[in-house]
Amino acid sequence: MSVAREHLVTLLLRLADDHLILGHRLSEWCGHAPMLEEDLAMPNIALDLIGQARALFQYAGEVEGRGRSEDDLAYLRRERKYLNCLMVERPNGDFAHTMLRQFYFAAFMHAFWEKAAASSDETVAGIAAKAVKEVAYHIRHCGEWVIRLGDGTEESAARMQAAVEALAPYVDELFETDAVSEAVAQEGVAPSPASLRGAFEATVSRVFAEAMLEMPAAAWPQTGGRQGRHGEAMGYLLADLQHMQRTYPGAVW
């Protein structure tokens, strides 16, 4: 495989893993939400994320050319081969944590897909054009919750503030660049993550102003996800995710 194709596969797996793992976390809420409307909204967002993950995995398998299907890629890699950022694998915490994590991810991905819609790679552009509409809704939905909780009761404000502090170490990793991200950016396949910081901050600061929250700078940013170094919670998540595929090797579902 050429270096360029290898880079493209890595890019696609990073994106696909972000969506798969966050979709997994979000779907853990199913049936346990604070209100029925959220029991509809969260699976709905999770469904968007899984749909985006599928498109990305399928394309990754195609570019890789080794005959791996979307399920082979989603279910049958070892933990160190998953390339998602650390934020998406963080345990759900309370509803404030979950909504803030989703809002951050959506704010980042919206900026990403907007640029990627003009990708030199037709398939990436197609995925982006569809995803950007979905993720705009996620920003609206989750952003409204950040505002409601930040400017709600004393308790909700304290919980929202705690979520802001707990997730702060995982924000910087979203914008991390390396040889892969720079190479695909130069070829016009996908924007450099670092270039999206301004758009992300504009979205976040607009919502935070209404929510009366302050964006803290993380003293100790955490990183490693893009190289497959995850948190301790990741192994348990994968044990759940891979349960059936590992128990019944080769079966078709």
Binding site: P34, L36, T153, H243, A251
Partner: protein, 331 residues
């Protein structure tokens, strides 16, 4: 997703003869009763109870299926299951809204559920032990629900009947999806076929129980039929379900766990073995394998979500106050 034969509604009513006769004439003329129309108290109470049970069933039903979303065996199955569970939440929302037209709030109904005063379909007090249970639930439980719900599209109460039309379309999709999961398993490896047969063995009898007690033991069926809330009796619907499910099981090479199951040429129906009504009543009254866990999960979600709901209200109040203050300042 699922209603079951109504349990515990009181159909007695105290209106005078003329009122009841006028109401019955509207029913007999197949007129739809709408929220602001005069109606007997017993009719209103029965409907609140039935729609409430139905709504609670949708919501509690999210739990056994939600149990397999994170472990779904492929991305395609995961997406389909997410969509299905979301549909069920949507049905719950519709149904609570339909019940609200009768003068009861969603909060009241939720509190009754959590206090154990309102029932939900007892089938959800069984555990989902394997992936095949997701197939069996779709095929059998949604299949049984459709038998119950198609006639409800013609229910005399307008909002309930209209809600059922969309619900039935989605249920029918779920049923086919569940059957397709079972078919894939039945045509798969020996281990997969074993999963499918085991799930069918465990879910078959509880599915037959979903139609409720025999007509001879049902206390309020007659009045519900006269008011055209119900159109068919529990036993008629159960028979219809058995008749349509037997060939489906045969087609995919699975065996229904009933040695007495046999085509009866004379009746034109399948005969089937006796239902264990002791088990039915035990599970209805709280003694099923999952009754405690299901209610605890709902209670936990309700309690832990209280601060979120309070915050949403508080924020809405603040917004309103700010809007009013801005308006005053402008004037």
């Amino acid at each position: 997703m699922y209603s079951q034969g109504l349990i515990g509604a009181k159909t007695e009513t105290t209106e005078d003869e003329a009122f009841l006769a006028a109401f019955q004439r509207r029913i007999d003329a197949e007129e739809k009763i709408e929220p602001n129309d005069p109606m007997p108290e017993g009719y209103r109470r029965t409907l609140i109870r039935q729609i409430g049970q139905h709504a609670h069933s949708e919501i509690v039903g999210m739990l056994p299926e939600g149990n397999w979303i994170t472990r779904a065996p492929s991305l395609r199955r995961k997406a389909a299951l997410l969509a299905k569970v979301q549909d069920e939440g949507g049905h719950g929302l519709y149904l609570y809204s339909a019940a609200e037209t009768l003068g009861v709030s969603r909060e009241q109904m939720t509190e009754e559920l959590l206090a154990g005063k309102a029932k939900y379909s007892s089938i959800f007090n069984y555990p989902t032990l394997t992936w095949a249970d997701i197939g069996a639930i779709g095929w059998l439980v949604d299949g049984a629900a459709i038998m119950n719900q198609i006639p409800l599209c013609r229910c005399s109460y307008g909002p309930y009947a209209r809600a059922m039309i969309r619900v039935c379309k989605e249920e029918s999709f779920h049923q086919r999806q569940g059957y397709e999961i079972m078919m894939t398993l039945a045509n798969g490896t020996p281990e997969q076929k074993e999963l499918a047969q085991d799930a069918l063995n465990r879910w078959w009898w509880p599915s037959l129980m979903m139609f409720g007690p025999h007509d001879s033991d049902s206390q309020h069926g007659d009045q519900s039929m006269r008011w055209k809330i119900k159109r068919f009796t529990n036993d008629e619907l159960r028979q219809q379900f058995v008749d349509s499910t037997v060939p489906q099981a045969e087609f995919i090479g699975l065996t229904l766990p009933d040695p007495e199951l046999k085509w009866n040429e004379e009746r034109g129906h399948y005969d089937f073995g006796p239902i264990d009504w002791d088990e039915f009543w035990r599970v209805v009254k709280g003694g099923g394998p999952m009754n405690k866990e299901r209610l605890e999960a709902r209670q936990k979600a309700w309690d832990e979500g209280a601060w979120v709901r309070e915050a949403a209200l508080a924020h809405a109040e603040k917004r309103k106050a700010r809007r009013e203050a801005a308006k005053m300042a402008a004037e």
